[in-house]
Amino acid sequence: MSKTKNYMYKSWWKILGVVLLVYTFVAGLLGKVPNLPALEETVRNLYFHVCMWFAMMILFTISVINGIKYLRTFDIRYDIISRQYATTGIVLGLLGYATGAIWMSYTWADPNNPAFQSFGALAREPKLIGTAIALLIYFAYLVLRDSIADMDKRARISAVYNIFAYAMLFPSIWIVPRLLPSLHPGQEGNPAMNFKDIDASMRIVFYPAVIGWTLLAVWITTIKIRIGLLKEKKWQ
């Protein structure tokens, strides 16, 4: 455990995260972007909105890894870690939704855009469904946790649900976009990874941006984990 505890108190990666974010903001606002007719300058949102989703998925993955670790060691600390990563992931997901709503309302849902028909058409968007599923799974995870009183049992059952749900989530993210028409770029597979129109100048900002946002989220989570561990100590 001491190894995992250590990284929370190191500061180099926190500094790295902040530096990367500063770079993201500066380069993201001043850098050159390809001028796309439907997006114009809003393509810069790639560095903010899309990163939320990436960071969310990374945090959920860390949560599952800690769930597996819990089932192998039955160390309650892994359960706390797993839970905190899940909640921070949800927060990022909600931010992703909020920013997506803003971005959408000035691009797809724009009344000047002939492609826009109704709100219903937007709600059928596969990426929206996929992320809604991801968020609902983790909401359900938290509801499940709250419904069990016994601590060990709660940790065990929620870890099992976490792994099961995560394993089901991946195929669905992979399946659903193939079935439904999408306005989102990156129709097959991962968005932004194979943007046809994302050129090199955007990529050198995008990848650091993902890492930067993720590190920031991890930082917040480690603080929450430390609070959780403190509470845990107090109870004993």
Binding site: F25, L29, E40, E41, T42, R44, N45, F48, H49, M52, V91, L94, L95, Y97, A98, T99, A101, I102, W103, M104, S105, Y106, T107, A109, D110, P111, F119, L122, A123, F139, L142, V143, D146, L216, I220, I223, K224, I227, L230, K231, K234
Partner: protein, 73 residues
């Protein structure tokens, strides 16, 4: 512990509302819409950045409060 369940049932309709408002707000052209669409819609990016910042700050404030409570106990 019940708090979370309550938040859960609160957040879902809220999300739907946000989407609905965002979709409808644009329909009636307003001064905000004009501004947002000027200079290559750069203000959309600003709005997105501010939303993320506000979200993270609100989250940190809540965390801070919980920490204070814990310290008092």
């Amino acid at each position: 512990m019940k708090k979370f369940t309550r938040t859960f049932f609160f957040v879902i309709p809220l999300l739907l509302c946000i989407g609905q408002l965002a979709a409808q707000g644009v329909k009636n052209e307003s001064a905000i819409g004009e501004t947002m669409r000027s200079s290559g819609r750069i203000y959309v990016v600003i709005a997105v950045m501010l939303t993320i910042l506000a979200g993270l700050v609100i989250y940190l404030v809540r965390l801070d409060r919980r920490m204070t409570k814990l310290e008092k106990e």
